[in-house]
Symmetry: C2
Amino acid sequence: MSATVFDIAKKATVSIATVSRVLNNTQNVSHERKQRVLAAMEELDFQPNRWARGMAKGQKNQQTGQVAMMLINIPDRIAHTAYTMQYIHGVQQEIAATGRKCLFVTWNDQTDGDTIPQVLLDGEIDGVVFKGYPYTEIGKQWLSRYPRIILNPPAAPPDCDSAMVDYEEGAHDSVAYLASLGHRRIAFVGLPSFRTKLLGYRRAVEELGLDVDEGLIHTRNISLEDTSQELDLNWAIENLWSLSKPPTAILSNDYFCGAIYKALAKRGLKVPDDVSVIGYDNEASHCEALIPKLTSVDIEAVELGRLAAKQLLDRIQKPQERYRKISIRGRIVERGSVRKL
Amino acid sequence: MSATVFDIAKKATVSIATVSRVLNNTQNVSHERKQRVLAAMEELDFQPNRWARGMAKGQKNQQTGQVAMMLINIPDRIAHTAYTMQYIHGVQQEIAATGRKCLFVTWNDQTDGDTIPQVLLDGEIDGVVFKGYPYTEIGKQWLSRYPRIILNPPAAPPDCDSAMVDYEEGAHDSVAYLASLGHRRIAFVGLPSFRTKLLGYRRAVEELGLDVDEGLIHTRNISLEDTSQELDLNWAIENLWSLSKPPTAILSNDYFCGAIYKALAKRGLKVPDDVSVIGYDNEASHCEALIPKLTSVDIEAVELGRLAAKQLLDRIQKPQERYRKISIRGRIVERGSVRKL
DNA sequence: GCACTTTCTGTAAGCCCTTACATTTTCAGT
DNA sequence: ACTGAAAATGTAAGGGCTTACAGAAAGTGC
């Protein structure tokens, strides 16, 4: 049996109210009595019962002070990356900064079936920042009971806040960056799903009066499988270099740049001497493994996590306001794959 | 104001005891009344107040059902990596599997000063899995109040459980693996701090009767700074190839292998045709960025996290038992940097 | 129908705090 | 020394639930 306020009060010969006041530092208590109480607490190893506290605080404290960071149906391949870690870290930092706590939850319909995470079930959270979606109806329902914000979905959902990576501006900025170094013919290599990036690319090319040439744009379902990927990118590079005027720089994704380097090397082209290459995502260990190290657009995942958490906290206060879509502009991290023309 | 048992009782015209019995399914309640109660709950959207419940249940329920996963004084460079993510994921999985919840906490003496994380302060956790140490005395004290386990410290501390990556076996296994492919002269390149790995290396070399040659072992304070690192590893490779019989394989760390590839290339040596290279840590995006992709020893971080959490849960049950040091053997992930001799 | 067991149900006490309100003490200003 | 305000302290009322205990209803065997 652990000590209660009564035990402390008796030991320190004060009233329970005084004990409580010392405990919460709410009102003036004479120095001498305070010491007595503190001493008694120390001696009896007093641990206030948190349920009793919660109960006594009553309505005023309906918030649990806990927020969940959820990874929903994220395959390990994606979950186990630096930027997922960054998201989580950002979220946690912001939550901790307000004295709240961050629960980390993974939820996988494949493995868990219809099991709803315990956290949602017993409602010990005020809201959730999540990445990915639940597949099941029942899962969606449970999630929708809480104030929430989704991290970087392909498209902002209509029924909650979202925090997006601004791929358009990122692509725009990297084109502008290359242009500022004198590049006029910039290739775009990516998947057809890179629509937003392509938008940014086109806008920048137009704004800056660079060479417009559809031949410079290669979007194709590049295989994620290694060997085919190399073939795909080889093909892309061959096409680019069969243009009457080949590009002097290539815009792509970190993930493809290894194969791009290789394809360029095959044609005897050196990075960055002959061609500048700029990636996207700034997956550090990837970029730094390449030789030369890859210049890339950082998506600012930590900051995005922080903003998302901040927005969630706002949302918890004001459940009624219109849903917001916040987005964040990336930042170019210079390494060794781009040179001045 | 949300509904209470009284409201339900009134609505269903039963006593609060009956409501409670339905809620907890503890005693027989006639079918008819049970239905009435259930209906009333549904209608009033009854959510039992968890503080009141905790309070009423009293002692029987002293566990909070929450466990913290803490990153203490881990610099971002290390925190934002795939394997940190894997640790966390493993810990979370195991904790969730027992119906508990996982709090994610970062704690940084540099930025936070003497601030103790809220989680420790209000004791809403049953234990903690942590990576890194608090620097301050007061921090250590707070941490030591809880059942805990440390993830992969340089050395197992005497005052808590620890979960270690078995670098010795990992190094041993990779030597054995190379030996099984016909390699007899295997170089070891790393930092002086790679003592455990070196132990495994030597043991394997001896066990398997491979060439013993101190010249094959290069431990030196390789710089973490890019350009110097290249110089350091260049120097290592030069030394190795100035031996009368150079190695046919190199054992190192993922992080150094980029520069090792480059140094080898400089001497006209191709990986894996002329030299096999095997890394350590299996940082996927790093290994896969290299060309050829790097074969590496996976530290099984997810599994280690899981084991650590499991051990912690045990520890919480049996606080008195001797501290344990659990360790886990890695697994070689084959990619393209090793070939049969 | 009676005595007795078994099953249900209700009353009320208690879990351990916080805090409104009442009371006592302290202290400045006269 | 006396007054009134400010500071310190204490008393007691909950807060929403569980559960021991007692009492009512239903079921059993004769």
